[in-house]
């Protein structure tokens, strides 16, 4: 029965050739091409961007993964990492004294192994214009932070003493990739080879030492290692990558990654919708041909073969074209970003190829299933009565293959059943609501219409008469606009958020150890040079010894040995205490109240996370020890601190007169633009006791990463916008087919061209504006969920985007509508179509 008839295939090819040339297949062709190209380029591009970003950012921890512990790692762990061919570097960190002649200084000592750093660059200056990215220093040599040369009064090739061993100074540290950004590190850095550590005899049973094991290697091996390792870790060990490192970059990266995934997913959905719309139109457009074939005596078998084969060549051709275009788009994208991003040389991924072909086939099968079935079943009676078969019914049952396909795509690309369910059923609910809203809006237009001009009346009457189809159109317009809007808003918010965190005048220098007399000089310098600077915060080192009379020494110490985070290491030993009249900027009270500026009570404001860890509540009495003095304060409030803001931050802030009697030094952060660099150095040279912390390099790197992410996001947005526009175009075209005959009749009856044109223009403008409005509404709702659940941003209302959506919706849809029906209206031989 199902043997292939060569004549059917021949007919199919004939139809295909003509229709392709006559542009009748353009939209469906483009839809599939775009779906495939979008998937192909999005999956491979975003995967590459992600890898490249993480790769790049990993230099901030000097490796792909770090295991931080307080003891030496068992050999079997190292062995296993070697079996997986991972690179491993070791770092031992401790505070120590160094001596040179008569000078001595507390430093933060890093003993590093040969491969350190695995990622990023350790920049060492070994002479004028002689800066190199190096690994560990040779045995017996030491590299020092720049400021140590001053405080120890040494120069290159001098000897210094660390513990029991002597070292020759051979380099100046310019940049440490995984330098801690904590303002209160125990001192300037000193780097020696790990092999020399033993002879210093610094490691004693009681000494506080941090071991960092750095790992890097092929992602799959790293993953394998991670799966094997993490179950065996105990509380004193911390395993992290750049994204969990709690650095400034981590949250930016996480958000960017989520955005890229979301954008790709939405792009794919849009492309799929475009295929669905275009496939429906494909089916409808061929119905009259099928009817004629059947009236001429064609069997169903013949029709089946003609159109299945027709569809098959169409899909194959578009699939191949889509793959090629997708590959090219991706190449262009990577090429455009090449200056910013060091992507891997591997530009072709089989996963993307598979994903794209899979998507193309799913779309082609599932979305065409119902239209093709209807097409093949077309009654030959259609040659006599055009509207005979009720093809315009939207029965949900018939849409099951399409819906199933959409779900499969969601699941396939999100790799997350829960998310897919939420998106899918959420989507269905939204669409149902939109359909209802659309119907309501159409009804409402009746009232408006009665007061309108002739063209507008005709337009509104048209809208109402086709309320059912129009609702469907409206919904697809709405969805397309909504998804675009959503991405646009998230994109701009993300980027704004990042830029807000790192404005141009973000502090790039920290000054520590400023004496009270120097504060005024500094202020003077700041004013004179019009610099952006934080205020100078007084700092008094002190120790928290009791909470509500209960000694907490042990509690805190134990806590400290836990997987403690950077910046929290001060707790348990000394904390940097400060006092303030007013709540510092970028701090936020989350419980209790800030004190009166002139209060004479003994109050303290505690950082919320620390409070949580130590179970401190408002009203608790905290006892501190400063040198020999002991005093008790009451907790007045809990405070949220933005640790990512580059300004001095404190765990404990006291009310003004608690610490007033204690000798304090001051700390400040400021932004030194390049052109003020010279004056700044000059200024500092007068005050050798002030410690300078330079975070400029780190800031620059952070900015680069963020601009890369922004660029990648923009690029992907372009692809998604393309997909969205195609949905709109396909829908307008489909709409056009439906009204073609009717237009011809109106025209023949003598309706003026201008009247028709205006009525159509108004109709589409109204449709577009309505879609824009509904889209804004839907966008705002989805955005609320996305921002609170996924991106952890604070949601807000986006009035400006409502305007954009409504305006661009009506303009775009109106313009497309006009464009598609222009030819139609101006056709002279209109009776051809009647």
């Amino acid at each position: 029965m199902s043997f292939i008839q060569p004549l059917a295939i021949q007919q199919s090819l004939r139809l295909f050739r003509h229709e392709l040339r006559r542009g009748e297949l353009t939209i469906i062709f483009l839809a599939i091409v775009l779906a495939v190209a979008t998937v192909f380029s999005l999956t491979s591009f975003s995967a590459q961007i992600k890898t490249a970003l993480v790769d790049e950012s990993s230099s901030f921890i000097g490796a792909d993964r770090v295991l931080q512990t307080s003891r030496v790692l068992p050999k079997e762990i190292i062995d296993y990492s070697q079996r997986l061919q991972l690179n491993m570097a070791q770092q031992v960190l401790m505070a120590s004294m160094v001596f040179a002649h008569d000078e001595m200084q507390l430093v933060s000592l890093r003993a590093v192994s040969a491969l350190y750093p695995l990622k990023g660059q350790l920049l060492i200056k070994q002479g004028e214009n002689n800066i190199h990215a190096l690994h560990a220093p040779p045995r017996g040599e030491v590299w020092l932070a720049k400021k140590l040369f001053q405080s120890l009064a040494v120069k290159l090739q001098d000897n210094i003493e660390i513990g029991d061993a002597y070292f020759t100074i051979t380099g100046i540290i310019e940049q440490i990739p995984d330098a801690s950004f904590s303002v209160f590190t125990s001192g300037p850095s000193v780097i020696i080879n790990i092999a020399d550590l033993e002879k210093t005899k610094l490691i004693q049973p009681a000494s506080r030492v941090t071991y960092k094991y750095l790992f890097a290697g092929k992602p799959e091996n790293i993953d394998k290692f991670e799966k094997w390792l993490t179950p065996q870790l105990n509380d004193t060990q911390r395993w992290y990558d750049i994204k969990s490192s709690q650095s400034q970059l981590a949250s930016a990266l996480n958000r960017a990654e989520k955005f890229l995934s979301l954008a790709s997913l939405l792009g794919i959905i849009l492309a799929a919708v475009a295929v669905a719309v275009a496939a429906r139109r494909y089916g409808q457009r061929h119905q009259s041909s099928v009817a004629v074939f059947k009236a001429m005596g064609a069997s169903r078998q013949y029709i089946k073969q003609v159109y299945l084969f027709h569809w098959f060549i169409l899909v194959t051709l578009s699939l191949l074209t889509g793959l090629i275009i997708g590959y090219v788009i991706q190449l262009i994208g990577l090429w455009a970003m090449a200056d910013y991003l060091s992507t891997s040389s591997q530009t072709f991924s089989f996963y993307s190829l598979f994903a794209a072909v899979f998507t193309g086939i799913i779309c082609a099968l599932a979305f065409a299933f119902e239209p093709l079935q209807t097409l093949i079943r077309t009654s030959p009676l259609k040659v006599i009565r055009e509207n005979d078969s009720p093809i315009n019914r939207y029965s949900l049952l018939k849409q099951i293959p399409a819906l199933a396909a959409l779900f499969i795509l969601l699941w396939f690309f999100s790799q997350d059943l829960y998310t897919s369910m939420v998106l899918f059923f959420g989507g269905i609910v939204v669409i149902t609501l939109l359909l209802l809203l659309a119907r309501l809006a159409m009804l409402f237009s009746k009232q408006v219409g009665s007061q309108a001009g002739q063209a507008l009346q005709l337009a509104l009457a048209n809208l109402r008469r086709r309320a059912n189809e129009n609702s469907v159109q409206l919904v697809s317009f709405t969805i397309a606009i909504k998804l675009l809007l959503l991405l646009l808003v998230i994109k701009s918010e993300l980027i704004n958020d990042w830029q807000a965190q790192l404005p141009d005048n973000t502090a790039n220098r920290f000054l520590i150890n400023i004496s009270p007399e120097q504060v005024n000089h500094l202020k003077h310098f700041i004013v004179e040079n019009k610099l952006a600077a934080s205020k100078a915060y007084p700092v008094v080192p002190g120790r928290l010894v009791a909470i509500n009379e209960e000694k907490i020494q042990r509690k805190v110490t134990k806590e400290n040995e836990d997987k403690s985070n950077q910046g929290r290491q001060g707790i348990g030993r000394e904390l940097n205490l400060t006092w303030q009249k007013k709540l510092p900027i970028k701090n936020q009270i989350i419980a209790g109240e800030w004190w009166q500026e002139n209060t004479d009570k003994f109050l303290v404001s505690v950082e919320e996370k620390l409070a949580k860890r130590l179970a401190i509540k408002i009203g608790d009495k905290l006892t501190f020890q400063l040198g020999a003095d002991i005093f008790t304060v009451t907790v007045a409030n809990l405070r949220k601190v933005n640790w990512q803001s580059l300004q001095p931050n404190f765990y404990m802030i006291f009310s003004p007169n608690v610490l007033a009697e204690f000798p304090a030094t001051y700390i400040a952060s400021l932004y030194i633009p390049a052109e003020k660099e010279q004056q700044f150095r000059l200024f500092l040279s007068q005050y050798p006791t002030i410690t300078l912390l330079d975070v400029d390099a780190m800031l620059r790197q952070l900015r680069t990463v963020i601009s890369q992410v922004s660029l990648a996001i923009e690029f992907i947005l372009v692809l998604v916008v393309l997909a969205g526009s195609l949905v709109l175009v396909a829908q307008v075209q489909a709409t056009m087919d439906e009204r073609q005959r009717e237009l011809a009749i109106l025209r023949t009856l003598g309706a003026k061209g201008r009247l028709l044109r205006n009525s159509i223009l108004y109709e589409f403008l109204a449709l577009g504006a309505l879609a824009g409005l509904l889209a804004s509404l839907a966008m705002e709702v989805s955005l609320y969920f996305l921002q609170t659940q996924l991106f952890e941003m604070s949601p807000r209302f986006h009035g400006e985007f409502w305007l954009i959506a409504i305006a661009s919706g009506s303009v775009f849809v109106g313009f497309m509508g006009m464009l598609s029906c222009w030819k139609l209206i101006n056709k002279t031989a209109l009776y051809h179509q009647i």
Partner: protein, 244 residues
């Protein structure tokens, strides 16, 4: 049964219609378009169906050609019981015996004039479809326009293509719904000539629906319809026939 057998024996009858009715559902009401039609058409006969607009001519024609099924009654075309056949079988009958010219000269938009003409021949697996089509194209005076698509042809030209298409299989019976309806009188006459030529040469049975008195007069037999009823069936002018 006896009657059917009798019919099948009478080879001279191409089309036999017994008590055919057609009803359609409109909303909840049922509308009767044809009320019990009886008709016999002999081989080689030329028959005109006339009647006012909406009287059911096109509906009857669609039943006779097996495009649609009657609500009740029987239709035999070349002894094939169309009323018992499913769509597939009726398609086969059409491919084998029937030519059709529609009221709106429905050509396939994405096939050229020549390819449109070839469609029925290909469906009937006729080998020389192309050369036959070229010849017919010349017959209808469009040999220069074979590569043109329907949208590039005028109404009359499209109608001529449709007629060439109907001729290509040399069908036993040709149904034509207003073949000259949209044409000027000169072209109309030319088309009419073509139709009757076919009848003369191959003995094709012609069943024409027309408002055109002149065309109707050239037929051997005229039946008139009114609101779904056959009003008058006159076998007239057997001899005062046509053709130059």
């Amino acid at each position: 049964m006896v009657e059917e057998l009798a019919n099948s024996i009478n080879k001279n009858i191409v089309l036999q219609v017994n008590h055919v009715t057609k009803q359609v559902k409109l909303d909840d009401k049922s509308l009767t378009i044809l009320h019990g039609i009886d008709l016999e058409v002999n081989k080689g006969e030329t028959l005109a169906i006339v009647g006012s607009s909406g009287s059911g001519k096109t509906t009857l024609l669609s039943l006779l050609a097996g495009l649609d099924l009657p609500s009740s009654g029987e239709i035999f075309l070349k002894q094939q019981p169309l009323h018992l056949f499913d769509e597939e079988q009726r398609s086969q009958v059409r491919a084998k015996y029937v030519g059709f010219i529609f009221q709106q000269f429905l050509l396939i938009n994405s096939l050229t004039a020549l390819e449109n003409i070839m469609v029925p021949a290909e469906l009937a697996q006729i080998k020389q479809a192309r050369s036959l089509a070229l010849k017919l194209l010349a017959d209808v005076g469009l040999s220069e326009r074979g590569d043109h698509f329907p949208s590039q042809l005028s109404g009359g030209e499209q109608q001529r293509v449709a007629i060439a298409r109907a001729f290509i299989t040399q069908p036993d019976i040709l149904f034509a719904d207003e073949p000259t309806g949209n044409l000027d009188s000169k072209t109309g006459e030319h088309i009419t000539d073509l139709l009757f030529q076919l009848n003369q040469q191959f003995g094709t049975t012609l069943v024409l629906v027309t408002h055109d008195q002149k065309l109707a007069q050239r037929c051997q037999r005229i039946i008139e319809m009114d609101s779904g009823n056959l009003m008058r069936d006159s076998a007239i002018n057997h001899l005062t026939s046509n053709l130059a």
